[in-house]
Structures are given as C-alpha cells and as structure tokens.
Amino acid sequence: MAVRVAAEAESRAGSRGSGAARTRRFSRAVLKRLLSGLLTLVLVSVITFALLLLVPGDPAVSLAGENPTAEQVEQIRTSLGLDKPVVVQYLTWAGSVLTGDFGTSLYSQQPVIEAIAHRLPVTLSLIAGALVLALVVGGGLGLWGGLKYRDKSGAIIAAAGTFAMSIPPFVLGMLLVLVFALTYPVLPATGYVPFSSSPTQWFLCLVLPWVALAGSPIAAVAGQARSAVIGVLGQDYIRTARAKGLSRKSIITRHVARNSLMQVVTVLGGEIAVMIGATVVVEQLFALNGLGSLIVESVFRRDFPVVQGVVLTAAAFVVVVNMVIDLSYSWLNPKVRTA
C-alpha cells in the first residue's frame, strides 16, 4: 500500500477535481455494478431451475394426497402447468417476475412474496446480528491481537482464532444450547419473537443463534484484522505519525483501524455469503423458521416458485452487499475512487 494513503485519507473531505465529475463517475460505477448484478440474478435463476430439473420429484404426486388416482395426479399437473415444456415453464415464470409477480406456492397457495416477507425478518435479524458480532468482536480481537502481536496474549488470540474457525456452526450451536439453555437455563433454546412484539424477547431468542452463526466469521475477521494491523503498523506513515507526536489513541483510531478496515471489509463480503449458507443449519437447530428452513422444505417438495423466490432474494442480498462493499472501498480509500 502506498505511503501516501494516509495523507490522502486525511484530505478526503477536501475536494479533488470537480464535484460534478466525481458524482458522474460514481454513478456510472454504481450503474455498471447494478447491471452486472442483474445479469448475476438471471444466471442464478436459470441455474436454480436447471438444478431442480436434475433431481427427480414431482409436486403433483405429493399434492394428490394419501389415496390418489392417476387421473387426479394428471389433473393437478395440468392445473399447475407442470405438463408444459421446461423452457415454457421457465419463461412463464420469468415473465411474471418481470411484472412483479413471483407466483404462489404450489402447496400453500400463499403468494411467494408474502412467504418471503414473513420469513425475511427472521433471517435478516440472524445475519445482521451475526455480522455485527463478527465485525465488533472479530475486529476488536484482531486489533488487539495485532497491537499485541509480539506479546503472549496476541499469540493466544491467533491460536484461538484458528481453533474457532474450524468449529462448524451446528457443533457450536449444540454446545451453546447444551450449556446456556439446558444445563444453565438462562436463554431459550428455540423460537423467534418478532422485534415488534417484544424487543427484549427478540434479543434473548437470538443470542445463541447469533453466537453460533458468528463463531467462525469472528475468527476469520479477527485473523484478517490482526494481519492487517500488523501490516499497517510497519508502514512509514505510522512512524511519521508517532514522530509528529500524535497520541497513541489517535494513531490507533485514525490510522491503524481505518487503514486495516479495508481488508476486514473484504473478508466480510465473503463471510456474508458463507453465513447465508450457514443460516440453513442454524435455523433448523434453533427452530427459527426463516428463509433457510423455507428453502430446505421447498427444495424437498419441488415447490419451484418458492425455491426461485428465496434463491433470488438471497442472491440479490449477496449482490447488494458486495456492491456496498465495493463502493465502501472508495470511501475507505480514495485511491480506489479515481481508478
């Protein structure tokens, strides 16, 4: 990283070039990312559709009940449009999506949008909380470990991180339930209470799932932050800052933390995608009926409109997060902005 970064970061507020030109460049960058994001979503929907076709299973058979007749199954298949050619099925679906209609579940007749709207708060609460934990705890530990990297405590943090990273969420989750819900019953083992009904219950119900989901990302963030901090500490501008007589506190907050953040944010982008995957397991473990459990059930039932809806939601989430992260680079590091 260039020596000049810190100086540039400090002059961030000052204008460089004309404001209008910068806004134009910025919005072009946003537009480009939006377009590539859309393309990603189209690809994801095609791949999801193809994957569903590869695995056997016909919703019409399960829908026909315990004592079906062959005609009944055929009738249900026709009424759901499952007898049409695959391409027609996909295009019909895609066409309605373009008009904002994501269809209805083959099983419940509930509009897919409603099902997702009901489940999304659960999963978003889960991911957002785990993300905050990963950033705050992981970042904090990493900064501490980096600052103390020559001490014993720094080495212990590094070793603990490697260990923590290798614990899968379901193992951590089961341990947490065993200790904090069964042996010392201080927190509920299962369930979800909407924030609007009771913020306290919402928080208490989510503590264990958050920790279970954040365990490995905390370690990943801490590791990345630690090495970033060590790297930054070796930079000339830190020596300069010290020589200038800046207080230790302001060196850490204004230079070390800020300049390490970019690498941490990059790691976080990857971790979010991993976390979305892990919610499937964590939701089952804590009986949280969010998007993860919705998609598991829907995949098994071949409830195609719901599967597509959830996959698209998750994909859109990842696309948006990555876009935000990309754009945040330019906030964290003005050099990227001009590139």
Binding site: P68, A117, V136, G140, A181, A189
Partner: protein, 526 residues
C-alpha cells in the same frame, strides 16, 4: 413492513464511523438475566406443541399428507370420529349414527343438532351435501378418491342425510373419519382464507393465525358442542423439523409437548422429562413393485421375507418395546377382535437360499431400494442390506425423501422397492386397498396376486359386516402367504411432555396425536 424491524440491528453499523473498536466486547453477555419465556402473554393457558412436520395448507380437500391432520382436526370436525382409547374404533362425530341400508347401496347419517360453525352458522344436512359435492369436484381435491362410491346425497330433513352409493362400500364410514369427513362452512368454500387462514370449521379451536410451514395459533371456540374438548385457551402448533431442537425446546420450556424419537429416550430418562413410548399401528415395510421381473416371482418375495431377521433389526434400531412382525395387521385387539398371528417367515437364511435357487437365482440377484435419508431409515436399510447379502441378494440403496419417492416409485417406477412406513386409517381394509388394490396409484405396477385382489374386492362390496370382516381377514393372510410385501415390524413412537402443564397425553394407535382432549393442568399461564 416487517423488514424495517429486522434491519434495525444493522443500524449498529455506524460504529464504523467512530471506529471505537475496543469497548463493544463487553456488550455480549449482559442480557442473560431473565429466562426465556413463551412468546405469548396475557395470563392465558397455552399449550405449545412442537410438531415434526410442516403444515402448508388448511383447506381439508387440498391439504396433502397425513401430517397436517393433527392441525386440521383441531379446527374442523369430522362426520365420524376415531376413539383414541379403543384401538381406533369409530365413534360419533358430527354424525351420531350411521347405518347402511340392507342392500348396502345407501348410508344414512343422523346428524348432531346444535352444532355451529365458528361464525355462528348452524351445521345441518344441507351442509353435509354441499361438502361432499365440493370434495368430489373441487380442483386439486385429494379427498375425491375417498368419496368415489357416493353417487348422490339426499337431504331427508335438517338432521338426516342419505348417501346414495354406486356399489356397496363398507369402508365409507372409516374414510369419513379421516380428511374426507371434515366439514367446512359452505360460505368458506371459495374463500382463499379457507386454505390460508383456516376459517370455516366447527372444531374446538379456531385458527387465530397461520403462517404456512411455520406456526399455527389456535384459540378456544367457546360454543363448542363437546365440553370435554378444548381445555386450553390457546394452542400453539410450532413447526420444528429438527428432533434435537424439539427436545431442547421441551426441556428448556419453549414447548409443552413434543413429537420425539426412540433414539432420544435415554436423554429423556436421564433428564427426568415426562414421556410416553409405545408402538402404534404404523409399521415399517419394504413396498414392492411386483411387476419387476424378479419380484414377480412369489419365491423371490418369500425368500426376502425369510432372509430378514426382524427381531434383531427392530430391537437394535427401535428399542426393546418395538415389535417385530411380518403382517400388515398389528397384533392385538383391532377392528376384528384379537389377532395374534403365528410368525410365517421365521428367520431362515437357508430356506431363503433354496427358494432363490428354485426361482433361478442361485448366483444371486440385485435389487434397487429407495430409502429415506432420515437416520432410522438409513440404519434399517443397512441392516436389511447386510442380511440380504447373506443369501446372495445385493440390495442397492438409493436415497430419496418423503416428498420425492412418490414420483420415483409410483410414477417413474425407477426402482422396484421402497423402504417406507405406513400409518393405517381406522380400518385394515383401507391399508389393503391403498397398498394392494390392483388399480391403486400407490400399488406401482398393479401386479397383485389374484387371491389378494379377489379378497379385497369381496370385502369392499360385502353386504354385511361379518362378511366384510371375513373377507378382510382372508386378504390380510393372503398378503402374507403370497409375500406381497415385506413387513419388518412396528416401531415405537415417543411423545415428550411437561407433566405439570398438560394431562391425559396418549399415543393414539390410529391417526395423528389428538390435541383436542388434552387436559390443562393450569400451570402454564404465562
């Protein structure tokens, strides 16, 4: 809408701006003071049931799978009920009496008076007529097959209705004790809220809220005709697919009643949790497609039956309380008096090898079997695989799920065998019809031995009860003798509960767990 609540914790993100990294480490562990309580409040008595299967649909004619029955039966009443205490005998529901005419071509139902739907509409004979006609015709109906024999419905007076049949159908009352007998308020027939909100029942509980595949909250219906039922003010039906989560919820107080598994009995014992464990009429069996070139031969099917050591398999996988058996009819007192069959297929690998050699398979044979991915089915399949390999049968296991196997096994017929379970209805004749009737969708290949097919047909159209019973018994034995299937045995079911909250918990022999008559012990007023 709710999105904004959820994104609120995200607002903690502005710490980025101040970058004060060091303080938040203390944030995590300060909130553990109060214990986790039930989501509901307000001093009401609540029963929270952790259910193992999801309910997606509350329209009785569209809801698929037996797993939704436990919820449907809380809010909709059936014409005829099943007595949970007496091994699945039929008892009055919305109909107090049912009598076949002498020629067997009509069934007269006397209806209970003073029954009202949740919106106050009275229940009467016209309602029954409308319901049967709807079940027979509504698009996507999965009860139409159960009511096929009904040609027309005649309203005699407001509390008497006569079902005219195209042919004698002794099973009809038993089927009216399942989904096909559920009565819906005709004003709800075309209302999407029937399926999405569960409106339009007469049952002891009304649906307060329903989120497909998640949870259902029921509230007591105060004008219910049977005062014994509906003792709790609220029933929460919580869907928890993971059995560990159900057990944890029960032990840490987020559920009062939970469907559990045999493998969890040790934990229940050691943690002093109340539970019931017992066999039901549900059995594990290998469903065979007898049109398969090898399985067409009765000797091959008998050989497989002889090659399986049921006692060992059942006791190792389902515990000492489970019962090994080779019959689709459970031993004991069900339907037609005491039944205690002699074991026909005693474990005898030598005999199995002989039979296979006779059938021309002295060099062995390969059979593909579909198996559910759940742990107990996997273990059972591996046990069977090991035992069959002793006699030269190579069982290839192919993975499937309960939602998938139907397509693979019944429609595509991609494998000739499926390790499955069967949960019988209130009559063994239903079992016979579903698994062995030559025209049944769930009898892939339709190749049923003439003995069995004739006996089933005879039982279905018998004029009087004793004739039907005799024919059914005959069919049950013919199924065994001709080795139409491979029954392994009757596993145990386990229900865990909090004995301070809920009383009168029973494991029903037939049908789903019955939450209607559970007693409120008055300690769960959260």
């Amino acid at each position: 809408m709710k999105l904004s609540e959820a994104s609120r914790p995200g607002k903690a993100m502005p710490w980025l701006r101040s970058a004060s990294l060091l303080l938040p480490m203390t944030l995590v562990l300060t909130a553990c003071a109060s214990s986790g309580g039930a989501p509901s409040g307000g001093g009401e008595s609540v029963l929270r049931y952790a259910h193992d299967a999801s309910v997606t649909q509350l329209d009785p004619d569209l809801a698929s799978g037996a797993s939704s029955n436990a919820a449907l039966f809380l809010t909709f009443d059936r014409l005829i009920d099943i007595d949970a205490d007496s091994q699945g005998e039929l008892k009055p529901g919305l109909a107090t009496e049912w009598t076949f005419a002498d020629d067997g071509l009509s069934l007269e139902l006397k209806l209970r008076e003073d029954v009202t739907f949740h919106d106050g509409t009275p229940f009467d004979a016209e309602v029954v007529k409308a319901n049967i006609e709807r079940s027979q015709t509504v698009e996507g109906s999965n009860t139409a097959g159960d009511l096929e024999s009904i040609e027309s419905v005649e309203v005699v007076d407001s509390s008497t209705v006569v079902l005219r049949l195209s042919q004698p159908d002794t099973l009809l009352p038993a089927r009216l004790a399942l989904k096909a007998g559920l009565m819906i308020n005709p004003s709800a027939f075309d209302d999407p809220d029937l399926g999405l909100k569960g409106i339009g029942g007469t049952g002891p509980y009304e649906v307060e809220s329903f989120e497909p595949g998640d949870q259902i909250v029921f509230t007591q219906y105060e004008d219910y005709w049977d005062e014994e039922a509906g003792d709790f003010e609220k029933v929460e039906f919580l869907f928890m697919p993971d059995e560990q989560a159900r057990l944890a919820a029960l032990r840490s107080g987020q559920a009062d009643l939970a469907a559990l598994e045999q493998s969890q009995v040790d934990t229940l014992e050691s943690s002093d949790t109340d539970y019931l464990s017992g066999t039901t009429f549900s059995f594990r069996f290998i469903h065979l497609n007898r049109s398969d070139p090898a399985l067409e031969d009765v000797r091959v099917r008998q050989a497989i039956n002889y090659a399986i050591d049921r006692e060992t398999l059942m006791s190792t996988i389902y515990g000492e309380d489970s019962k090994a058996s080779d019959s689709i009819m459970p031993a004991g007192d069900w339907a037609y008096g005491d039944y205690s069959p002699e074991v026909l297929y005693e474990y005898d690998p030598e005999k199995a090898r002989e039979l296979l050699a006779e059938a021309g398979y002295e060099d062995g044979l390969s059979i593909e079997m579909l198996v559910f991915t759940t742990p107990d089915f996997q273990r059972l399949a591996e046990g069977i695989q090991a035992q069959l390999s002793e006699v030269g049968v190579n069982l290839e296991l192919a993975q499937t799920t309960p939602d998938q196997f139907g397509e693979m096994f019944f429609v595509q017929q991609s494998a000739p065998a499926n390790l499955n379970y069967y949960q019988p209805g209130p009559s063994p004749l239903i079992t016979l019809n579903q698994l062995f009737h030559p025209d049944a969708f769930t009898n892939p290949g339709g190749n049923t031995s003439p003995d069995v097919a004739d006996a089933i047909e005879h039982a279905n159209t018998a004029m009087d009860e004793s004739e039907a019973e005799a024919a059914t018994s005959e069919a049950i034995e013919a199924v065994r003798e001709d080795a139409e299937t491979v029954v392994i045995g009757y596993p145990t079911s386990v229900i865990g509960y909090d004995g301070e909250v809920v009383g009168d918990v029973e494991i029903p022999q037939v049908g789903p767990i019955d939450l209607r008559y559970l007693k409120n012990l008055g300690t769960n007023n959260s």
